[in-house]
Amino acid sequence: MMLDIKDAKQEALRVVFGETLSDLAEEFPDILVLDGDLANSTRADIFAERQPDKFLEMGIAEQNMMGAAAGLATVGFIPFISTFAAFAVKRSADQVRVVVAQPGLNVKITGGYSGLLTGKTGKTHQSVEDIAVMRAMPNMTVVVPADGPELRQVLRAACLHDGPMYIRLTRDPSPVIFDDSYSFVLGKAVVVREGSDITIISTGVQTVRALEAALMLEQEGIGVHLLHVPTIKPLDERAIVEAAARTGRVVTAEDHSILGGLGGAVAETLGEQHPTIMKRVGWRDTFGESGPDDALLEKYGLTPHHVAQAARELLAR
């Protein structure tokens, strides 16, 4: 199921997004892409080139874009909103709430450039809390894919699922960890690695770093049970409880605030169903800044080493 992570092929989720949606538009003729003047960043420009009649420029006006998508959904289209996660979630939060989530309309919101790595743009462009906001929204499905192969399946699942969905994307190339045998199922978490000393639960591209952490820990003789949670909502609670029960210690890992995101969802689930000692790895409730990727990951505590260190600390308790 898993390719080796060393020398893994790299793919940028934004490119996979643009290409896959262009392909899917042949199969699902109701697909439209609405762009908030960022197509050459989000790579919706690939779609604009290949499906010009299905590409709707909406200008720098995220609120209106969200509402227009809602209107298009009422007449049977599958509108995909494309902008940065920071703006998709925050600039049109009330529109998502009132004309998308409340009526349950079939709008797909893709949040590009999510998390820490946004090409040096800095804190205004880094979405540290988008998962928390979208997860707290009733009726919203929240999906955070880990790599290109998973994203391809997520986009297809989005077309088949009737209802509002938030899909979190990233900018920079990241390793491909899933091979052809991998099958994404909306609402299901997936065991990436089995082990009995400590459980790591991760989402998005952070799963790649969690996997690297697992490999490090295994070299130290620590068996890691790694659960990847691509669907944050609806949450696969049973898989989370099972994974926690497996080792009795849980580290969560996400490129997102430790408040209210995956770490929050896991804490809520375990607190009610299977109290387990845990440690959250993610942004420590802070805003970000500009800088090269490596320096940012190091400063904000998101490297594989940070995930591994959290596991060691939990084991030492």
Binding site: N64, G71, V75, G76, V98, V99
Partner: protein, 306 residues
């Protein structure tokens, strides 16, 4: 021919041209039903619904191509009440038009009701878009109008805006985008009553209109954003119908109809009084309101009046 026959005849589209005085009578009934429902619910808005009653009746009885017995008819014209707090005005119009029994208006604001305080498309067939958070209605209208164009369909999309609501930036985002796509299958109707909720206090604590009260200034604003504009007296039924036809006929731009209205229109003590934006009448006020509206009885009775 009475209204019911008209409606029966117009099943698959418009009602046919009802006489103006019949439309006027229906508008009075709609206003009365608003007051009755708010009294019954002991909650809700009145100034705004009364302000736009003529605009709604003219639209639903003379212009929209709709099927009250098939509210989700795919080819129907679309209507969005962006000033969602005027929901009871829309509900009363829908009931008059045959979407549901007028008696149901008395469930307004009650728990489990289809008639929510603000329109909820998941509850009541006939509501094309949920609203209640101001400034949001024109954008879904763009989606519906673009959708018609993309599908080669002929439905027309109508959006009712409040003037206070036009302070929301989203309205101007939508104004720009609608014009840029030259959506001439989209019409906005502005209920230009020059009041909002609390309002802009003047030097002596009085309410001052949010915008320059001159409709020409409002037209200039929309024209600057690329819209075709029409000004009209929003309580003159014939003039309203004429404005609607102008909007339908215009090509190349979306049209906005700037309808000068009086908030609380039809009830003397509510007219022009910002306090009646959302206020429940006493029993005595209810009675006076109904009598001013020429209603013979206090309750809602489907057979009354026609």
């Amino acid at each position: 021919m009475n209204v019911k026959d008209h409606i029966a005849q117009g099943k698959s589209g418009q009602t046919g041209q009802l006489p103006i005085d019949e439309l006027t009578r229906l508008a009075a009934q709609v206003r009365a039903d608003c007051v009755r429902a708010v009294f019954q619910a002991q909650g809700g808005h009145l100034g705004g619904p009364l302000s736009c009653a003529d605009l709604l009746v003219a639209l639903y009885f003379d212009v929209l191509s709709i099927r009250p017995d098939e509210p989700n008819w795919p080819e129907r014209d679309r209507f969005i009440i962006s000033k969602g707090h005027s929901a009871i005005g829309l509900y009363s119009t829908l009931a008059a038009r045959g979407y549901f029994e007028r008696q149901e208006l008395l469930t307004f604001d009650a728990i489990d009701s289809r008639l929510q305080g603000h329109p909820d498309m998941t509850r009541l067939p006939g509501i094309d878009m949920s609203s209640g958070s101001l400034g949001q209605g024109l954008s879904p209208g763009i989606g519906m109008a673009l959708g018609a164009r993309l599908r080669g369909k002929s439905w027309h999309t109508w959006v009712l805006l409040g003037d206070g609501e036009c302070q929301e930036g989203q309205i101007w985002e939508a104004a720009f985008v609608a014009a840029r796509y030259k959506l001439d299958n989209l019409t906005a109707i502005l209920d230009f009553n020059r009041l909002q909720q609390y309002g802009w206090p003047g030097a002596n604590g009085e309410r001052t209109p949010p915008w320059d009260p001159d409709p020409a200034a409002m037209e200039a604003r929309w024209r600057a954003f690329g819209w075709h504009t029409v000004s009209v007296d929003g309580h003159n039924m014939a003039a309203i119908l004429d404005a609607y036809r102008q909007a339908l006929a215009h090509r190349g731009h979306p049209t906005i109809i700037v309808a000068s209205t009086i908030k609380g229109k039809g009830v003397s003590f509510m007219s022009g009084a910002y306090e009646w934006h959302a206020k429940v009448p006493t029993a005595a006020e209810l009675e006076q309101a109904l009598s001013e509206l020429g209603q013979t009885q206090n309750g809602i009775d489907d057979d009354a009046g026609h």
